[in-house]
């Protein structure tokens, strides 16, 4: 297994980092940030064409030959809405991938796991490659897997909050049990060390948007995230030292030049 390859539903992507396309100051900044991130997949939202204005189109700024489009169902509050949006997204993008969101609470944007499961079952039957956005609930993750999800995408923290991994213990328990499909941590990553930590816990990938798009310098932060994901994955594979409560010298204690000559 290569450190930087993420395999979802039989397809391989040469980066473990997936980035969003929302909230950038401009499409051009976004384009450069995506390139700097090294991402091979980007999320997009499906929305009505705004007939009152014309202008640049998002897709003109994404190198779609190299970068896979992952339409989301952001903003959907029921399984039905999400299924409908997923179908529209497939038609617009001609790909079976969908980042499935069914939101259960407007303030936290926490998932409605019941609706998520229903929508997953419908879309799997229709041939979608379903990547559901969920919380760090191991029991739900197992159900989603059993329902045919191609990956599970537990949150690190509320969407856009930048709080980083709020519950590493529960995320670890989830990662220990879900092996047959990738676990991609989605939402809440605020800075590089958050991304590294996610990967060190054993996640297969990370998805983020606001952490990059909202940074003062999105392109630079995108590069930071690229290395952070790489670093975290390598550290996971390299096998870190155990934590110890006391010190342990790095230099040998033998052979010290001590007291037996005149002091300096």
């Amino acid at each position: 297994m290569k450190s930087d390859t993420l395999t979802i539903g039989g397809r391989s992507f040469p980066s473990r980092l997936i980035v969003g396309t929302g909230k950038y100051p401009s499409f051009e900044v976004m384009r450069r940030a995506i390139e700097a991130s090294g991402a091979a997949m980007v999320t997009v939202a499906v929305r009505r064409v705004d007939l009152s204005k014309s202008g640049d189109a998002l897709l003109d700024f994404i190198e779609t030959r190299k970068i896979a489009i992952l339409p989301n169902t952001a903003g959907c509050r029921t399984a039905d809405e999400a299924v409908r949006t997923a179908r529209l997204g497939r038609e617009a993008g001609l790909s079976d991938l969908v980042k499935l969101e069914v939101i259960g609470d407007d303030k936290t944007l926490f998932p409605d796991n019941e609706g998520l499961l229903q929508a997953t079952r419908v879309l799997v039957k229709e041939g979608f490659t379903v990547l559901p956005y969920t919380n760090d609930d191991l029991v739900v993750a197992k159900r989603l897997r059993d329902a045919g999800a191609a990956a599970v995408m537990p949150l690190a923290a509320p969407i856009g909050s930048g709080l980083g991994v709020q519950n590493p213990a529960h995320l670890r328990l989830l990662l220990e049990e879900i092996h047959d499909i990738p676990v991609i941590v989605d939402a809440g990553v605020g800075t590089a060390s958050d991304a590294s930590m996610v990967m060190e816990l054993g996640a297969d990938g990370v998805l983020m948007n606001t952490g990059i798009a909202g940074a003062t310098d999105p392109e630079k932060m995108a590069r930071a995230m690229r290395w952070a994901v790489e670093a975290g994955r390598l550290a996971f594979e390299a096998g870190r030292i155990p934590k110890k409560p006391y010190a342990s010298a790095s230099s040998p204690m033998e052979g010290m030049v001590r007291r037996d000559g005149p002091s300096a």
Binding site: T21, V46, I69, P71
Partner: protein, 66 residues
């Protein structure tokens, strides 16, 4: 005839196809998805899909999102 396009009433010539509507709107068919009365219209059938009075049409595309 009157159609409801993306939630808003709009006039359209009777017998228009989805493709004709998109051309009127200045939209490239390759970048949008269309739902007609809640059912997806596949892109290769845009020319054959004829609109009727009171039809509800959704024309969507990709925008930035996370």
């Amino acid at each position: 005839m009157t159609i409801i396009l993306n939630g808003q009433e709009r006039m359209a010539p009777a017998g228009s196809s989805v493709l004709a509507l998109l051309e009127t709107l200045g939209l490239a068919p390759g970048r949008v998805a269309v739902e007609l009365n809640g059912v997806i219209v596949r892109r290769d059938t845009f020319a054959r899909a004829i609109l009727s009075d009171s039809d509800r049409i959704e024309v969507v595309h990709f925008v930035g999102g996370g």
